[in-house]
Amino acid sequence: MYRILSKEVLSDVVKLMDIEAPHVARRAAAGQFIIVRIDEFGERIPLTIADFDRDRGTITIIFQELGKSTIQLGKMNAGDSVASFAGPLGHPTEIENFGTVICMGGGVGIAPIYPIARALKQAGNKVISIIGARNKSLLFWEEKMRAVSDELIICTDDGSHGRKALVTEPLKEILDNKDQKIAKVWAIGPAIMMKFVTLATKPYEVPTIVSLNTIMIDGTGMCGGCRVLLEDGAQFVCVDGPEFNGHKVDWDNLLSRLSFYKDEEKKAVEHYDHKCRLENAVAKGEK
């Protein structure tokens, strides 16, 4: 069992947790992920590492409540424990001094982009960060991102905070500026956002790294359920990734694979809601 040491509510649907897992924290690095399983009935869900503290032996995870498991996890509190916590999985981000780089985080993707931006900054890069979400309430870690960025651009779809724009708009403006050569772009967020970022950077031939969040089971290369189609064949996201050259990814294949279990995910949420309502009713009845 792995204890939740603290919990922060970043927005209605985005939660942060520090989990006590020294065996994961000791070698954790930016770009890697963990697999968490809440209880005996739980599925194994991959979450990218948002931060880590080797001395305290903790891993910070940030998640958006989307499916049954993340909703259930979001209801847990400091002091509660999860049944399994494995990692750090996948390869760390390759950090070097590349020059000027852009770090883009969309929605809950702001969490995993933070340690990457921080490491790139520490390595001497000029870091321009672009973070975005549908609206202000879904944004978080603005100050943390500002602290590790030379420049921070904030976008919301509805203009409730920062620029009213998709993250690809300021990206294109920066790429159009001939005075500033961009060495590399990192983009983490919903698959559709990463797809459009890679489409935007492609004409400029700026290498673009994306972090893929495919469906996974074991997360150790055992099932192949996480495979992604690249220009030169299929690879396993959990062992070969999770970061890939975004220009080589077959995005339509990825998006269709991500949606394969949509009906079941809906059913699981309904089943869970129903169970929670029943439990509440029983609890009330007993009082």
Binding site: R26, A86, I217, M222, C223, A234, E264, E265
Partner: protein, 483 residues
């Protein structure tokens, strides 16, 4: 029973295994083979001729003391039967259920030459189950030696090595990357063939009795590396199996609805997808499933599919779908255990022999709709001695399918070899280790089981774990040098 004469023994007929009804069991996950009663077991044991030069023992990869345990069994001395069994085999309740006896002990039994072999596997299971419920033969730990051993992987190889080294008084830590121990016994082989309670019972008993420190969620190569383990432990055993699935290189392999048998079986067995939504992990197979291959893995996948289809049909009221085996060779070459093939047939699985997939066909939403195959015929024998299947030109046809499951063999997972300089591997990715002692090319590192041999059997993995444990014990006592 009075002492029988050999000809009297030979008159007794081999006893069938009582099985769950074939129509009923299609719709549930409960164990198919129900096990002998004590009376049946003792009468079956009477069939054994107690050969002076027992061929069955030679046929067993670990040399289980078969005549001795059978003799004790028929004399009604179960405690002694268990003792004889445990000399060579720590996990009889498991081996009795999953060993390919027809090519091992029973395949060598003298009685089998003219009639039917003694049902050694079923007797082994009977003895193993007795031990599970009585624990008459407790594991004891020698006084602490102060030496530390790391066992990586908790499949049959790892468990056996952990038990045999912990008994010597060493402090053993067993690392497992998944959330529970057991390896293939838990994530691969289904409940209806090997109940998980049996596996958990065996492992937790050993872990508790011997104070083995089981660390799940620990991926060696990631959480800790091999070189790091060597700093802290006196010896390291690698029993990480061969879990990396391979996919055919044919068009359509990345369509939705194509998966490896490992993914399918892990969803169903480890994650209990057949109980979705009570368990969170789903599995979706539609109404027509093709499993490509004909080994044990393929049989397990197709029989799980058959059950899922029946459960779905019971829920929707529609007619059940179809579960197919697609295999490029003929029935004679099928590598799976005979009993599994027989059970699959009884359960209504459709076998397509001499049929080779050439393309997976999908629709505009990238979902599988069919499997295009070509018919094969048997040609000249190949290197393996089996007749090589060759394509019949122009015989392509399409089978309508919703799901295609690939059960084509697996390779060792390379994660454990990160930061493991000096540990040699073959071109197939298996660790190089000597057969007698399990020593790798890296000092103080032993390996055994599927990670050395490639996908093989439970009993051979156990045997390798046992031999490595003996050598580790000798090495740590200073009785054997490394060189």
């Amino acid at each position: 029973m009075a002492e029988l004469k050999p000809h009297e023994r030979m008159k007794i007929k081999r006893h069938d295994m009582p099985n769950q009804d074939q129509l009923v069991r299609r719709g549930n996950y409960e164990e198919v083979a129900l096990g002998y009663s004590e009376e049946t077991a003792r009468t079956e044991a009477e069939r054994c001729l107690q050969c002076k030069d027992p061929k069955c023992v030679q046929g067993c990869p670990v040399g289980v003391m078969i005549p001795q345990f059978i003799k004790a069994l028929r004399e009604g001395d179960m405690v002694k039967a268990v003792e004889w069994m445990k000399v060579k085999n720590n996990l009889p309740a498991i081996c009795g259920r999953v060993c390919p006896q027809e090519v091992q002990c029973e395949g060598s039994c003298i009685l089998g030459k003219k009639g039917e072999a003694v049902a050694i596997g079923r007797l082994e299971r009977f003895v193993g189950d007795y031990e599970l419920s009585h624990r008459s033969c407790p594991l004891v730990k020698a006084p602490a030696t102060g030496k530390k051993i790391a066992v990586v992987g908790s499949g049959p190889a790892g468990i056996t090595c952990a038990v045999d080294t912990a008994r010597e008084g060493h402090q053993v830590t067993m690392f497992e990357s998944l959330h529970g121990p057991g390896g293939v016994l838990i994530y691969g082989i289904p409940e209806f063939r090997l109940p998980k309670a049996v596996v958990h019972g065996e492992i937790s008993y050993a872990v508790d009795c011997l104070g083995i420190d089981l660390k799940t969620d620990h991926v060696i190569g990631r959480s800790f590396t091999l070189n790091e383990l060597l700093e802290e432990y006196d010896a390291v055993f690698l029993g990480t199996g061969a879990g990396l699935p391979s996919f055919m290189r044919i068009p359509g392999i990345n369509l939705n609805g194509v998966m490896s048998a490992n993914e399918f079986l892990t969803r169903v067995n480890l994650m209990k997808a057949y109980q979705f939504p009570d368990y969170d992990t789903p599995v979706r197979i539609g109404r027509k499933v093709a499993v490509v291959g004909a080994g044990n893995v393929a049989m397990d996948a197709v029989r799980c599919s058959q059950r899922l289809l029946a459960l779905q049909a019971a829920q929707t009221g529609e007619a059940p779908g179809e579960a197919h085996i697609v295999y490029r060779r003929s029935k004679d070459e099928v590598p799976a255990r005979q009993e599994e093939v027989h059970h699959a047939e009884e359960e209504g699985v459709i076998f397509n022999f001499l049929t080779n997939p050439v393309e997976i066909i999908g629709d505009e939403t990238r979902r599988v709709t069919g499997l295009k195959c070509v018919k094969m015929e048997l040609g000249e024998p190949d290197a393996s001695g089996r007749r090589k299947p060759v394509e019949i030109k122009g015989s392509e046809f399409v089978m309508e399918m919703d799901t295609v499951i690939m059960a084509l063999g697996t390779n060792p997972n390379p994660i454990v070899f990160v930061d493991a300089d000096g540990l040699e591997r073959t071109k197939y990715g298996t660790a190089v280790a000597d057969t007698e002692r399990g020593r790798t090319k890296k000092k103080r590192v032993w390996a055994g089981g599927d990670v050395v041999t490639g996908a093989a059997t439970v009993i051979s993995a156990m045997g390798a774990g046992k031999r490595a444990a003996a050598d580790i014990n000798a090495f740590l006592k200073g009785e054997a040098d490394w060189e």
